[in-house]
């Protein structure tokens, strides 16, 4: 039995179709990255999984149960980190943590110790005095400490600095080693890739096939992002894809990108990078592909 099993799920808000025949399966102990631009339907999907939103059509099974009928039983075995910071500002950090953990009978003491030590939050202080990053750390503690079968994390790396993101990666890996099933959504493609077994790309409420994603990544792998000094010109044999506001050029060389770049004088170059795959670029390519 798959902990998460969605088949042909439809969800509309008025005239807008948010999920259009969306299907996804997550195997036991699997860590899946849920990737998509804003408004692609990620959060809606996660809310349907928890029974916070009803679906219009299709089948949904979470831990073998239907979220619309057995939402409470599902949530007993599942921890959810909402996308928006969901913390009581009037409470002290420790009060919120005690309250949040009181819903779950079993806790992972080693993870609790790790999180307490690394995050070093001032738990005696009121949450309203916390920064955005500190609130996110507290919300993460409330989500990752309970010992449950399934973790659903909506943008867990939001508002976190680089070192905390790396630490979070280690904690998620630890949960993965314990055969916990994890579904996480994020905008940080590179970091998500390093800790998940598999990525699911969502666009306009539909899953993008892996082949299409692979093609888009191949295109991006050949792209060169470079900044030129004023007055310098691009060598021939490349197509300019776009120009960012900071002057960064995205070009697609006709042949090998390394040999094309070597034709450029080092005096005219500020910086250059080959094959940088950012999520927004990936989606841009996918949209272009779909258009063509």
């Amino acid at each position: 039995m798959n902990p998460i099993d969605l088949t042909e799920v439809q969800k509309r808000f008025g005239d807008k179709t948010v999920l259009n025949g969306f299907s996804m399966q997550v195997a036991p102990g699997e860590t899946v990255g849920f990737i998509g631009p804003n408004g692609s339907g990620k959060t809606t999907c996660l809310r349907i999984l928890l029974g916070l939103l009803p679906r219009d059509d299709g089948q949904v099974k979470v831990l073998g149960m239907d979220p619309e009928r057995d939402a409470v039983r599902i949530r007993e075995h599942c921890c959810y980190l909402p996308g928006e910071t969901s913390i009581y500002h009037g409470m002290r950090g420790k009060e919120f943590l005690r309250f949040a953990l009181s819903f779950y009978p079993r806790h992972q003491d080693d993870i609790q110790l790790d999180l307490l030590e690394h995050f070093a939050l001032p738990l005696q202080k009121k949450v309203r005095s916390y920064s955005a990053g500190m609130k996110q750390k507290l919300a993460l503690m409330a989500t990752l400490i309970p010992d449950v079968e399934l973790y659903i994390l909506d943008e867990p790396d939001r508002a976190l600095d680089a070192s905390t993101r790396f630490f979070l990666r280690d904690v998620i890996k630890k949960l993965h080693q314990r055969q916990k099933t994890i579904l996480l959504s994020s905008h940080h493609l590179r970091e998500v890739e390093t800790l998940v077994d598999r990525l699911v790309f969502l666009m306009h409420g539909e899953v993008i096939e892996n082949e299409r994603v692979a093609t888009a990544r191949q295109i991006l792998a050949r792209r060169v992002c470079l900044k030129l000094k004023p007055g310098a010109a691009l060598p021939k044999g490349a197509r300019q894809v776009r120009r960012d506001l900071d002057g960064t050029l995205h070009v697609e060389p006709d042949g090998d990108p390394v040999s094309w770049l070597s034709r450029l004088s080092p005096d005219s170059l500020v910086s250059a990078e080959i094959g940088m795959v950012r999520l927004e670029d990936l989606y841009r390519v996918l949209v272009e592909e779909a258009g063509s």
Partner: protein
């Protein structure tokens, strides 16, 4: 907040008890005006002036009509409108609804705490008036009659709390929920002050004509649940159940 609400009610009641002898004398002096009011058929004016005549009526006016009804309604609006709307405003509703508890249990837990917070001070302040009346002005008050009156006042305030809880589920912002509930109260007050429309006012179910006879001992605890109080409780239950049903389908 409950403590502040209790202190405000106590602060209203204490000087009212202390001023009783003077007000009683003024009341006697106003008798001709009462007679004139009878001619003018101003029922409300006659009752208010008449309430100064007998201490239980006067106490009912001060402790329940002025104190319990208005302070209780204000507390019910403040607490009830925040039950769900404040969770939505501060974006904690998603956290709460994603825990392994049903929305009904969440609402029940919140409503129960709010119900105790708005009704307990009514009893405490009303009971405090029994010894205070005896010590300060030497007027005896029946403890059981005071308890029955406090129970009626609590039922009235609970109905307001149910209404404000419903507003809290319907509106996304607490301010909007409070405005809707406040508007209802203002309209009821306006109706109450128009003699011909007074019978249509919701305040009519908890005014001096109701509290006066209770304080005189005309109504016992057993009688409470055979008349208007049962309808108030039933109305409160219906409003609560609608709120509960709406919360189960709340849009995040």
């Amino acid at each position: 907040m409950t403590l502040v609400y209790l202190l405000i009610m106590q602060a209203i009641l204490l000087p009212a008890i202390a001023l009783w002898p003077d007000l009683n004398i003024i009341g006697q002096q106003l008798k001709p005006i009462v007679l004139m009011a009878k001619i003018l058929k101003s029922v409300l004016f006659r009752e208010l002036i008449g309430a100064l005549d007998q201490y239980p009526d006067y106490y009912a006016l001060q402790a329940f009509f002025k104190g319990g009804n208005f302070c209780g309604a204000a507390a019910a609006i403040l607490m009830g409108t925040g039950l769900v709307a404040r969770e939505r405003e501060s974006q904690t509703i998603e956290f709460l609804l994603s825990r392994p508890v049903t929305p009904s249990r969440i609402l029940f837990a919140k409503f129960s705490v709010a119900a105790i917070a708005v009704t307990a001070p009514i009893y405490l302040v009303a009971w405090s008036g029994v010894p205070l009346s005896h010590w300060i002005v030497g007027e005896p008050l029946s403890f059981s009659a005071t308890t029955v009156a406090a129970t009626h006042c609590s039922i009235f305030v609970l109905s307001i709390l149910s209404l404000t809880t419903l507003c809290s589920v319907v509106f996304r912002l607490q301010a909007h929920a409070a405005a809707a509930a406040g508007l209802f109260i203002v309209i009821q007050c306006a109706l109450y002050l128009i003699q011909t429309a007074r019978k249509y006012s919701y305040l009519r179910v908890a005014d001096i004509e109701i509290y006066g006879p209770i304080m005189k001992g005309d109504l016992h605890m057993g009688d409470l649940f055979g008349s208007i109080q049962i309808w108030l409780l039933l109305g409160s239950l219906i409003l609560y159940l609608i709120a509960d049903r709406l919360l189960r389908r709340i849009a995040l």
